[in-house]
Amino acid sequence: MVNIIWACMAIIGIVYAIFNGTMDQVNEAIFESADEAVTLSIGLISVLVFWLGIMKVAEEAGILHMLSKLFRPLIRRLFPDIPKDHPAMGYILSNITANIFGLGNAATPMGIKAMEQMKQLSGDSDTASRSMITFLALNTSSLTIIPTTVIAIRMQYNSVSPTEIVGTTIIATVISSVSAVLIDRFFYYKSIWRK
């Protein structure tokens, strides 16, 4: 699916540019955005190194284990495939916590670590496992409860009440996260029935 989407975005863009006379912009955008992507990856190094370092210490010190014990009942229902006490649980929880507080930078490395652990559980296969998709669904639906970036922008533009959107954001987030889990379950059971 992603192969098709990836190719189609570029194909449609280039074909459209042929008829629309925007080839100059496309040509420029190709190299500019490749550059931008490299800058982004290099920029990620600092966050990844720092957070994976700290999280490794947390793991060795048994903090991730403590975290997963604390929230086990809730998370177990969401990820029935993951054995209790598995380190994946700790990383999932750290990712969710970081997301809730709008710390996107801290959330990504923990999310990747969680995915890595889940991959080990699925026997190093290159196919997404059930828990990986549930985890992804939660992340894409956004778990942000405090949208720090948006609040900062609203402050910059002199909003009378920069944080008045926190309430509506929380309601919309809860609706979309609950729906994401339900949709995830729907497709999961559909894929089982097919077999």
């Binding site: 975005m9 912009q25 955008a29 700290i54």
Partner: protein, 176 residues
């Protein structure tokens, strides 16, 4: 709100403090373990690089050619008919594809309509309650080498759709 802002600023330093105190208490070689974990981070960033270059270039071809805008103009009448404010449509369509573009659009909407206008509040809520599905998919699956993503993309995009509709409905009820 003061409390929420301070929680956000305090959270990371206090977490680090806790980790280091517990690690020292349990005689974990903290610095060596940190370096060991950090090495993984370097590797990960380089693993991610080709995935990000590929995805971001493809998205920017689509945008710079004008095709994305044309598509948005094409389907806008239908969305307006369903009651979705026309100003918000480009943001709603771009949000799952590109986080930077969406943030730019939100800033632009807040700038031109004002942060306390209906559109400004709606853009803010939408920005906070949805996430860049394609980016998350690329980064998370790319980093661990997942090639067959099964129904993941469908779930992600449908969740975005619901998040966007939920934002419109909630903001209309609360501020409308």
């Amino acid at each position: 709100m003061g409390i929420i802002t301070s929680v956000s600023t305090w959270l990371i330093p206090v977490f680090i403090l806790l980790v280091l105190v517990v690690a020292t208490w349990k005689r974990v070689p903290a610095y060596e373990t940190f370096v060991e974990g950090g090495k993984e981070g370097v590797k990960m960033a380089f693993t991610l690089l080709p995935f990000l270059v590929g995805m971001i270039v493809s998205i920017s071809i689509l945008r710079s050619s004008g095709a994305l805008e044309a598509f948005i103009n094409l389907i806008s009448p239908f969305l307006v008919a369903v009651g979705i404010p026309p100003d918000i449509i480009p943001l709603a369509l771009v949000r799952p594809i590109s986080g930077n573009a969406a943030l730019g659009m939100t800033t632009e909407l807040i700038d031109s309509h004002g942060p306390d206008s209906f559109i400004g509040r709606l853009a803010s809520t939408m920005q906070g309650s949805t996430d860049t599905t394609l980016y998350i998919l690329t980064v998370y699956f790319g980093a661990i080498g997942i090639k067959k993503m099964r129904y993941a993309l469908k779930v992600g995009l449908l969740a975005d759709l619901i998040g966007i509709l939920a934002s419109i409905i909630v903001v209309t009820i609360v501020f409308g």
